[in-house]
Symmetry: C2
Subunit: 502 residues, 2 copies
Amino acid sequence: MVEKAYEKLLERSREISALESVARLLHWDQQTYMPEKGQESRSQQRALLARLIHERTASPELRRLLEEIEGSGRLESLGPEARANVRELRREHDRQFKVPAALVEEIEKTAALSYRVWVEAKGNDDFDSFAPRLEEIVRLSKAWADAVGYQHERYDALLDTYEPGMRAAEIEPLFESLRSELVPLVRRIVGARCEVDTSMLRRKFDAATLRRFGKGIARDLGFDFKAGRLDASAHPFCCGVSITDVRITTSAEWSNPIDALFAVIHEVGHGLYHQGLLPRHRGTPMGSAVSLGVHESQSRWWENFIGRSRSFWEHYFPKLQEAFPGLMDDVAPDRFYGAINAVRPSPIRVEADEVTYNLHVLLRFELERDLLSDRLDVRDLPEAWNGKMEHYLGIRPAASGEGVLQDVHWAHGMFGYFPTYTLGNLYAAQLDRRIRREIPDLDAMVGRGEFHELLAWIREKIHRHGSRYRPAELVRRATGEALSTTPLVDYLQGKFGPPYGG
Amino acid sequence: MVEKAYEKLLERSREISALESVARLLHWDQQTYMPEKGQESRSQQRALLARLIHERTASPELRRLLEEIEGSGRLESLGPEARANVRELRREHDRQFKVPAALVEEIEKTAALSYRVWVEAKGNDDFDSFAPRLEEIVRLSKAWADAVGYQHERYDALLDTYEPGMRAAEIEPLFESLRSELVPLVRRIVGARCEVDTSMLRRKFDAATLRRFGKGIARDLGFDFKAGRLDASAHPFCCGVSITDVRITTSAEWSNPIDALFAVIHEVGHGLYHQGLLPRHRGTPMGSAVSLGVHESQSRWWENFIGRSRSFWEHYFPKLQEAFPGLMDDVAPDRFYGAINAVRPSPIRVEADEVTYNLHVLLRFELERDLLSDRLDVRDLPEAWNGKMEHYLGIRPAASGEGVLQDVHWAHGMFGYFPTYTLGNLYAAQLDRRIRREIPDLDAMVGRGEFHELLAWIREKIHRHGSRYRPAELVRRATGEALSTTPLVDYLQGKFGPPYGG
């Protein structure tokens, strides 16, 4: 009986998942190949799919199946995989079912409008024109969170969208500890006034050659091009259409062409996670990535902990010199390594280095949590932003376009998203410490361009589990330790402390 | 009341149409960019969409709305556009509703299996291994036609899938008249033994340059690249994702590279039809192409009547010489014109010229009509095929792979499709005769590479009407004459008669 209900539940899950998969392909196509006049009909197609997905996720049939399984007293007997699937499908169902359709519609309309207002406001450095929209979005986000419900604080309901099971009260001490270490580190680095020459990164690298080079790295890292693609788009992203159809993109436009390579490595990190999910769980939570934070741990681990390491460029720097004859012959490997790891406080998050990046995130987490709990008024946001920016990074944005208006997230109503970036860094550092203990000659392998064992380890510890465990539990099982800031702080101090006398 | 029901009907139509649009994009992606391991999940996505489309088209709600409108006695008052929409939505609903789900499923399964058997059988020239599958397909196609129903003969139900409202008894006299003219014409041409030199078409044209050249022609003809794309795929096709998102492809692999240009012009013909539909009718029959025959009239008119004309190459041949420096300098324009219009009976339909092509189609029409009405047994098909081939074209296929097994259509269960190719030629010839009367200096315009007036004419006469009229009525209104073979025969005699002493 309960087995039959569970089978039916999985069928429903696979159907919802197939629709989500189609929706992701529509998004990918829109960002890569869709002709510009296709916009209007594409919006209609995506709205329709979103509706079909919502209807199915919130359906009475799904609820009935969940209730039958949960109420049977026999859920345990189905095993841990089934328990994870039921848990996650219940979570998704509740989130979709509890929110009135009228509120969902209002949020969508407001987000679409406020996105357009934000684009203009950002261009004009005009926060005041965006403020009324943002107030509206905050109001609706609160209503949404209240409808979904939460145990401790309202912000948790939003955070849970991106990082299931995580709570603001868990994040707070982690982020505070991080801040207390990073603010002084940044001050020491800035105070040392070591000017790092990064000009060689902006030389004339032929775009097609650079792209081939990036593709070669992707292949070396283990990205399966029979189950994936690399294309160009305005902003790099990874789209897991399905486990065996994973599409990453890189941008053709970079102020610094070498950044294109790191973007590829970053997206490959996301892509490897998709490709490492188990096909037998296709279409169920067990076959899906567990959270944005864990996703980000994968992209950032490959990009920063591996891709910006000395060993990595021991292998690839001679190849880079070879691929661009004459262009980098005068550059010593050490200078290149210094350039790709230069630390410079900037008002812009997406341009930030490994050290300052987390402070950008901390600032946003604190501000949006305050907004959602009525401790901060939208009108006071720019001043709060600039004050924190000055305190954390020692800089004040010259205008709101490069300050409080820089990110699209809030215009889309995506509160609770930002912390996943730093959670990703924390997870990555913890995984990095563990893998280096278990594979002591990791650096030597990377220096030889051998990534097979690294990928096998991360697949075993992270990828193959899908959504079996909640993020914190997944990382605890992989590393044997509870989440803490020590590995990330040790890593950053070790990498960025010494050259500046830290 | 009836207005409200009609509005609701259109809403349903737009939803079905959006799903179909998504399904077409999935197909396009599969043929162009999808990584090979994406196959399995893509099949699941497409099957799910097909089911959603079927459910909605066959739904009791749609039937209720149709009945309410049709039974109101006020359909006339809604105007001609509404009448066309109701007529076509009723037709689609009936076709989906009347066929039992079990039969649809059996047909799909059998078609999938028989496709695989066909691929192998064709490769091995082994008709016997395919025969049992084909018998099964014929049986299921009969059952399908009987479920849908027909007035005169069973074949009409199948034909109506591709050419709404057309009947075999209407086609028969047209095709017989065509045969009585074309068989002697082919004999005269073959008897004249004029060897046309076509070797210059197989010179080493740089693929990228040829592609740019084809893209330039597409743009000249009026294809809007802001509402469309040109990509590469194994076989050329046109995919109208929506009216403002039309994607054509060409193949990178041709034994004769110049054929790639004609493939582009052919697909542009289809693409212009899509782009010429009216956006205000998006998602309804009034905003959809009316039939495969009319579609084919567009592709073949641009490809053959325009693209293989002397005037066309007066404009483009010097440009071709310029685009490929040195490659075609020794070729006189007349020799090129002769080569691209060489007539040579071949056993293979897709390699056939303008004259022999129709005989390939006639043969298939006669055979499949006989199969469906039990006048021909599958086991006797190869001999019937070869006999007709000898009679019509004077050749006997050496093996079944280049004979009865050459086309995929029957393996897919697509009976009733073939005649639309020749119907397209008939429509095209009739339109061509008319447009030359209304635009007397058409040849001069084409010779200057000016296509704007031609496109405006065909848009006015054909494209903008969508499915307002049934194909025969549409062409009658556009040309002032009932469908006949005279224009096509006159055109073929005029173009291909004289040089061979016809």
